[in-house]
């Protein structure tokens, strides 16, 4: 069963999913393992980059 990292309009990964079959969708990036560490990371080209967390607003 394939694994996907789903990205938002800014390329930020907000979901990791093990699906029952292939999904052909631009915002679904196929990955090799169920890697939760990708959550919050940014897709740049074929790589993932860490995004600094924003300062909390009070």
């Amino acid at each position: 069963m394939p694994y996907y990292a789903q990205i938002d309009e800014n390329g930020i990964c907000f979901a990791v999913t093990q699906t029952a079959g292939q999904i052909d969708q631009a915002d679904m990036i196929e990955i090799e393992t169920f890697d939760e560490g990708l959550l919050g990371m940014k897709r740049v080209g074929d790589t993932w980059e860490t995004v600094p967390e924003p300062e909390p607003s009070e």
Partner: protein
């Protein structure tokens, strides 16, 4: 007479090689039941609710919503503190809540949605699974 009766029973029972069928011989029906009973698929995932997000959706492979269920497998989130002031003086801190408490729904055949009441500038990671039955 006996041969006709035996032939009748053999036709009803069928052969082990009979193809699965809901209307065929007993062997065919058993093969049909075995192939169409129980769990069809399981999909699992995590969804990240960003610091300002109160809902998010993830895409899954299409399921029959009348034969599928979603299980909430838990959520994790850091605490969040609020502060109250009198003028410019910090008078105290309080624990914010609402961002921990999430709901998970199978919105449609290909979408899982998580929601929460408050974001509180705090992320939450929600884990779920979708089980589809035959």
């Amino acid at each position: 007479m006996m041969e006709a009766l035996l032939s009748f029973f053999l036709r009803q029972v069928g052969l082990r090689t009979d193809a699965a069928s809901a209307t065929g011989s007993a062997h065919a029906k058993l093969a049909y039941i075995a192939a169409n009973t129980g769990i069809k698929s399981i999909q699992r995932g995590v969804i990240n609710l960003g610091t300002s997000a109160t809902s998010a959706t993830a895409t899954i492979t299409s399921v029959n919503t009348s034969k599928a269920m979603v299980n909430f497998l838990g959520a994790s989130s850091a605490g969040a503190l609020g502060e109250f002031y009198e003028g410019s003086n910090l008078k105290g801190r309080y624990s914010k809540n609402g961002h921990h408490f999430v709901r998970v729904a199978l919105t449609n055949a290909t979408t899982v949605t998580v929601t929460r009441a408050n974001a509180n500038d705090t992320t939450a990671v929600v884990s779920y699974e979708v089980i589809e039955f035959y």
